[in-house]
Symmetry: C2
Subunit: 423 residues, 2 copies
């Protein structure tokens, strides 16, 4: 039995590793078209920023490790040109054909360059190296970042840290790809304080005297290969999979940034490419490919991003998103101390919660602050996974001690306020 | 209609405030035997430590505030000598009688002095002032702390910060009142590094050349008043209440450190006096006393304490506790990075999870580390409130971004490892 995995970054290697763990006898081959495998692409902004010294530091394991420790064969520079499901084989660009019994498609996503000539991107280690080199050699003073998604905002921060003046162009009216006017206002205000110019509803036209343009206009799933093989795509444009990561073609799984996943709040299929989700999907695909039964329930839509020092986290639906989905939704936003008011490390934190008016079901949340933001959004994310009601949420037994949290956690205070608005 | 509340710290004032919010016409009187109301007793160690400058900084609101802003009458120095449920009245030590329609008993708890003559305690603002004065005037060099519960360990840290040599005597074999040998070993090792001497299974006999002895040997619920009035106590020795905070006597509620609460994992009544729980119980008692229907589900048993800079958090049951409760339990402990490995603020964190072998139901957890510990234990606490299975828990959509968390959160890594041990 041979498992072939196309793609050697997050989902692909999670799938291969999980399959190996569950089946010692499987032959496992990973085909990666690039030169690097198993690297944390999400760390690239911090390499640019300067805290991560070398892009190599982002590599989790090298091919040798996988060969030696996990008996997983990895071929880099191996670009797959076609999948032939009837013959259960993949064809490499080189012409070579490889037969599989099970196949995991983990082809990832690629940046939309958006037609900005000469623009840098930040998707691969190569990209980061080129951009770093440009910064060191050309010493640009003014940069335009195209796109205010999380990569755009991380880039803006990294470039500010390098001393550049930065303007961020966003073609929509919202930051972070989230229909949320309140969040956009808060983030916009913070960017202003950090002297990053945010231009909303603004298409970058190449004008202005920028020495550097970086495009972070979004991603598209790499689905050509799958589509060419008769694998169905979903309405999102990414590969359609069930909760076992099976595609419509027998023996072929898809996982990671090339595939859809279910949103736990709406129940609908969505496409939210993120490293953490990619790894989970890969793990599930690997387990099923190895003959076990594993399922991935879906995502709450949790994300966190550092914006010029501020942690900005969201999960589930914003008020606007909830209404668009047909919920009769209400929301409440509070500002509170993140630790006991009198404790010297205490800082303000903002919490917003969204709920369905009649049922009281929690639909989403937003947390901004200096510290403990990930922890707080994770509590909301867990509650969403359980369709928790605001009434239950407000009495959760959350940790209390002055150095770590106030006696009423900001989450609970916000839930109490929100409770008043429910029917 | 008159609501009388006995006790003016956490639960009492939460009850009064909640009742006022829900019923503008209620007459509300709070009787507090001490001179201070509404103060954060949990902050006292940090006043001793030096970061909180004056004990007054721990006062949330004064009596004037409650009178003016909430139309709640507060009498300090008003000690209740007896409750007469048949006549619906309370008698003060002064002889004065006050009639009530609804009564909330929030008499709190008191420290067990444990018969150590001349020992200080740290339960009230007065206690803290005396201890601070002693430190400033007598400049003791060697201190013994009796009890390794959270107050004992906070005290040990505060005294170390004041330059004292500290020994902690604990009569049981465990720290933090938790039957958990693994946790005790980890905390013990950390205390050693901080040069706090931990003596387990050790009764303090007054020996040794200590210049200062502080007793933190535990708390007892203040139930005399209630018991004298025919209010039932539970097996824990605290006042028995239902989820509406009703006692067995009509019109009388109990809340806070004097009352029992349900443990969400075992379903049994327990007594875990904590400020956060006291406030929640008070809120529920106040709502019900004001004629609304509110319920308090119970506690997961979440706690967090700073031990010489290290955050130590637990929730639910330890392995030993789970086995004592009759669960066929397994546990897994891992050490992992709390943020992306390559991110410069990344530090090790320890996560332990406990589950029932056959069902896979999560039963408890422990997290230790420098940062994000409260957030991680809160995710476990929320999962316990929902009887979550390890299999669901391991795929929770937790926030990921290098500055805040690794791609596989330590919680998820631990759950994956634990999953292997399940039946």
């Amino acid at each position: 039995m041979r498992l072939v995995v196309i793609g050697g970054v997050a989902a692909g290697l999670s799938a291969a590793s999980r399959a190996r763990r569950l089946d010692r006898s499987l032959e496992i081959l990973v085909l990666e078209k690039g030169q690097h495998i198993s690297y944390a692409a999400c760390g690239l902004p911090y390499y640019l920023e300067g805290h991560v010294r070398r892009p190599e530091d982002l590599v989790v394991h090298n091919a040798d490790f996988f060969r030696r420790e996990r008996e997983i064969e990895i071929r880099t520079g191996a670009e797959v040109a076609a999948i032939a499901p009837m013959r259960r084989e993949v064809q490499l660009r080189s012409g070579e054909r490889i037969v599989y019994d099970k196949l995991v498609v983990a082809t990832g996503a690629q940046p939309v360059t958006g037609g900005v000539p000469g623009a840098f991107t930040l998707h691969t280690i190569e990209d980061a190296r080129k951009l770093r080199e440009f910064l060191d050699q050309k010493r640009p003073r003014r940069a335009a970042v195209v796109g205010a998604g999380y990569i755009g905002l991380e880039l803006a921060e990294a470039l500010r840290s390098n001393g550049l003046d930065v303007a961020v162009y966003e073609s929509s009216e919202n930051v972070l790809n989230r229909h949320d006017a309140g969040l956009t206002a808060l983030v916009g205000k913070h960017l202003e304080r950090c002297r990053v110019e945010l231009k909303l509803n603004a298409r970058f036209d190449g004008g202005g005297s920028y020495d550097l343009v970086v495009s972070a206009a979004g991603l598209l799933p790499n689905v050509m290969l799958a589509f060419g093989a008769g694998i169905e795509l979903g309405a999102t444009g990414a590969i359609r999979v069930n909760e076992r990561m099976e595609t419509n073609v027998a023996g072929i799984y898809a996982a990671g940034d090339c595939a859809e996943m279910r949103h736990l709040v709406t129940g609908r299929m969505v496409w939210v490419p993120l490293g953490s989700t990619a790894n989970k999907m890969g793990r599930v695909a690997g387990a099923n490919a190895a003959g076990k039964r594993a399922r991935f329930q879906g995502i709450a839509g949790t994300s966190i991003v550092r914006v010029c020092g501020l942690a900005v986290a969201t999960t589930g639906l914003s008020l606007e998103m909830a209404r668009r989905e047909g919920f009769d939704a209400v929301s409440e936003r509070i500002e509170a101390h993140d630790r006991a008011r009198y404790f010297w490390t205490s800082r303000p934190t903002t919490v917003e919660l969204v709920a369905e008016r009649r049922s009281g079901r929690l639909l989403g949340g937003t947390v901004l602050g200096d510290a403990d933001v990930a922890g707080r959004i994770n509590v909301v994310a867990s509650a969403l996974a359980h369709r928790m009601l605001v009434d239950e949420f407000q009495y959760l037994d959350l940790a209390y001690s002055p150095p770590y949290a106030p006696v009423w956690d900001p989450l609970l205070v916000c839930a109490q306020q929100l409770e008043k608005k429910l029917g």
